[in-house]
């Protein structure tokens, strides 16, 4: 129907018939088509491919979430398209609007597909097997033979045997032939059940993942031996908050690092490390005692849904600084490494040297920055580490004096000095020195710095994800459903059992009383593969076949061994005398479900 909107055409006297019902119908029609399109198998397929495609940049480009430095480096390197990609969300693919759009559409499609199927399935559960078709020879699998029992006994036997094998059976009298019976049977309902469980689990899994993204958090920090902290956003070096998490309601716990031990192979590979800790699970509750435990790689501490992980370890050199006025201070700082020999870099900063008035701080602040080598070897003045264990710790550092720039308000790395201050001449390098434990160096103003030793630090991470348990539950369901759905095969079989001599054409009169002709047809509703062999067994359930005098004579002239494996040659015309037929036709199946039908 066309609707003309030109206002000039309508006269006030004769108003046009209201266009509304048509519009509504058209809109409904349109919506229905959209819905049908969205929930069709083809759309699901396309959306799946889109999902895969859209995930690809998440693997190939650095992501903010997984590596801030690398992403920043990439941006610095690719100044032309970097910012554009960044704006389009290519460095945060899995939180980008286009990615969300794809998976949301996919899941809408999934729900739209799975709900009606569940209804269908519930209906099918109560439905009886399909009645026996008129011509069983037309089925993809069929056979015909004679047995020595009368139709009723034969039908009894077939029915009982099928039930024993967990087929759902419907037996009825054959209307066309007096004294005849048909038995139709079906099995494999569990397949659809498994398939539905699988698809519903996908929805559950998405929900669990979303829960984690909304309410979960994680925080990490380095902690030296002897140190402790209580969990709060401020206590972490880095904190990753879920969408609804503002950090005010973390469940607090306290932890103290007592000892860190590490084992290395002779080649210097880290083979294991452990942190002995004490913790308080509920420090706010009175009487909550400190408990001891050991955290290891792959062995987190689980408390109140929060999990505490040992992620790494390293060294912190300990120094003793003695100022000319005799005042001393022990200082330390964590050095970090990304090298198997644990050669580490870091900086010890002293922003408030004792005895210096605050206004003179900017000329007297000290920094000792450089390398820590657990097993130091010096060659040509250059210190390297030959083994990750601290057997002969050495320190190769530069010593700076001046303004560290820590009061400027701009946060700076705790592992390095601000090179900008050096470049600006505000922070001056006054000495470069290699020290082994116990050695000291004296600066120009008489200050001495002694390398007294080292301590270990551990990198701890707190994680909380309330969706995690459910993710596991749905993943297990998903796997179970998938296996059921792929293993279970949907099969149908029909038997038509007629008395011999009734109206069997060539056999008329040839058979004696109490014999039956059994025709069997089989259809695989899902996956044809493998039904051939199974059909052979099932089809024989009516009892041992007896020879038929009419075909016996004919057959001796033309036979060939039964060879179902001769798949290579296409279906050939039937050899005369053939009793057992197999046909495999593409698309043969249940016409009611054309999209779901398989042609295997």
């Amino acid at each position: 129907m066309t609707i003309t909107d030109a206002p000039g055409r309508t006269t006030g006297a004769t108003p046009r018939p209201p266009a509304k019902p048509g519009k509504v119908r058209a809109t409904l029609q349109f919506l229905r088509n959209v819905w049908r399109g969205l929930t069709s198998m083809r759309t699901a397929l396309i959306l799946l491919f889109l999902l895969a495609l859209a995930s690809l940049p998440g693997a190939l480009l650095p992501q903010w979430d997984n590596g801030r430095e690398k992403t920043q480096a990439y941006l610095d390197e690719h100044t032309t398209w970097g910012p554009l990609l960044n704006k389009l969300g290519f460095f945060d693919v899995f939180a980008s609007p286009w990615y969300s759009a794809i998976y949301l559409l996919l899941f809408i499609s999934l729900i739209g597909c799975v709900l009606p199927r569940s209804v269908d399935f519930a209906r099918q559960l109560r439905a009886k097997p399909v009645r026996t078709p008129r011509n069983l020879a037309r089925m993809p699998l069929s056979t015909e033979y004679r047995v020595d029992t009368d139709p009723e006994a034969t039908a009894d036997r077939v029915e009982q045997q099928l039930r024993q094998r967990h087929w759902r059976v419907l037996r009825s009298a054959e209307p066309a032939t007096a004294g005849g019976y048909t038995v139709s049977a079906e099995k494999g309902y569990l397949r659809e059940f498994g398939n539905l469980v699988f698809h519903f689990s996908l929805i559950g899994l998405l929900g669990a993942v979303a829960t984690g993204a909304l309410f979960g958090y994680s925080g990490s920090r380095l902690i030296g031996t002897g140190e402790s902290y209580c969990s709060s956003v401020a206590s972490y070096d880095t904190f990753r908050a879920g969408i609804t998490v503002d950090g005010t309601d973390l469940t607090p716990f306290c932890v103290q690092l007592d000892k860190l031990t590490a084992q290395f192979s002779p080649e210097g590979m880290a083979t294991g490390f452990q942190a002995d800790v004490q913790y308080q699970a509920n420090p706010q509750q009175p009487g909550d005692a400190w408990q001891r435990t050991t955290i290891e790689v792959n062995e987190p501490l689980r408390l109140n849904g929060q999990r505490l992980y040992l992620m790494g370890h390293g060294y912190a050199p300990e120094l003793k600084v003695t100022w000319p006025n005799g005042q001393t201070r022990d200082v330390t700082s964590n050095f970090i490494s990304n090298d198997a020999s644990l050669l580490s870099t870091g900086a010890v900063k002293i922003p408030d040297p004792p005895g210096v008035p605050a206004d003179q701080n900017s000329t007297k602040q000290l920094a000792i920055a450089g390398l820590f080598a657990p097993t130091a070897v010096v060659q040509g003045g250059i210190m390297t580490s030959v083994f990750p264990q601290a057997t002969a710790p050495g320190l190769a550092v530069k010593i700076y004096r001046g303004d560290l720039g820590v009061n400027s308000g701009v946060p700076q790395s705790v592992y390095a000095i601000d090179q900008g201050q050096v470049d600006a001449g505000k922070l001056k390098e006054i000495k470069e020195v290699n020290l082994m434990v116990g050695q000291r160096t004296t600066l120009d103003d008489g200050t001495t710095i002694e390398f007294t030793g080292y301590r270990n630090w551990a990198a701890l991470q707190t994680s909380y994800d309330p969706g995690q348990f459910w993710a596991l539950v749905f993943a297990v369901l998903l796997l179970g459903g998938l296996m059921i759905s792929l293993i279970i095969k949907r099969r149908r079989v029909w038997f038509r059992i007629t008395p011999i001599g009734a109206d069997n054409g060539p056999d008329a009169g040839a058979g004696g009383a109490g014999r039956s002709l059994v025709s069997v047809g089989g259809l695989a509703r899902t996956d044809q593969a493998g039904y051939g062999a199974e059909f052979d067994t099932v089809a024989r359930l009516a009892g041992p076949a007896v020879p038929d005098p009419a075909t016996e004579a004919a057959a001796s002239t033309a036979t060939s061994p039964e060879h179902s494996q001769q798949a290579e040659s296409a279906a050939a015309p039937a050899v005369p005398g053939t009793e057992r037929r197999r046909r495999q036709r593409a698309g043969l199946g249940d016409p009611a479900q054309p999209e779901r039908e398989s042609d295997e």
Partner: protein, 366 residues
Amino acid sequence: MNPNSSIAQVSDLAFQATMAAYLVALVCLGIELAAKRRAPTELEAVSAARRVAAKSGLLVGSGAGAANTAGIAGTAATAGSTPSGSADVTVTSGQQPPTAAQTQGPAQPPSWSERFGRAAMVVTVVGLVANLISIVTRGIAAGRLPLANVYEFSAAFCFVAVLCWVVLAAKTKARGLGLFVLTPVTLLAFLAGTVLWQKAGPVVASLNSYWKWIHVTTVSISGSVLLVSGAASVMYLLRHRYDRKVTEHPDDVDLANSLPGKLPSLQLLDKIAYRTAIVAFPLYTFAIIAGALWAEVAWGRYWSWDPKETVAFISWVFYAGYLHARHTSGWRGVRAAWVNIVGFAAIIFNLFFINYVVTGLHSYAS
């Protein structure tokens, strides 16, 4: 000499033997296929079947071969059936499949192509045993499950893929698949034995978790089986193109005799691809779940969209797409085969590219 290092040497020798055996088997299979007569056309098949039937009529009538159809067919003598179009992989009735060679009569010696084919199977099995020895001795030398680096992973990958193919070849008699399985496997074996090779040694602490072993073992097994599936799909595409061309140019003898015509039928190839995929896909799913469980204990997060996880997800989605495609009109056959191949490409991409080029939590690159 350290006993461990001599065991490690045995492992390396065995792996060299594996490489050699796979290469020889590959060459034999190539010769077999080149020398093989094309599968008979429909008409040829019928007349061949008739000939066989006429010759062996007596034999079949009294032979045991017909016994298990006798029950159904009434008498042994009527047990003859058509050389059916069924491409049923699982039917292994124990009867001789009438190959082209056998239509010349059972008494004749096997043809040249047949001999090469059999030799290929024998050499393959030898290679398989050497491969297994190499893996086991490597495990003993390193004192752990030998799946800790890309070399070990590749060795296991080759083993399972070849094993899967040998089993399929025994079941379906479709040796042709071997060419397409052994080509990537041999390539991978040579890569593994040369560039990727690493000394047997311990693993870093974070890799020492039983979830990790479960995860890596299942990833490699499912990946290998998916290789066989992908190979079957590649052959499907080749065969499909051939079939189409032959129908377009029925008189082109050269074309009709070209190599793709000697491949198994479309139905069989599709079936092999599907059946291997539905075995491997749940296993792959399990492997990913095991990986997530491991990530939870090792990294504090069960899924972090690390590049390796992301590509695993992508290949998983492709395989889900493959299974869907087989139920979607217009997508069965050629398109589904493509999806299967892309899925496998993603797995290979994950194994090599991501390990060596992109750095992430999983990376062995450093």
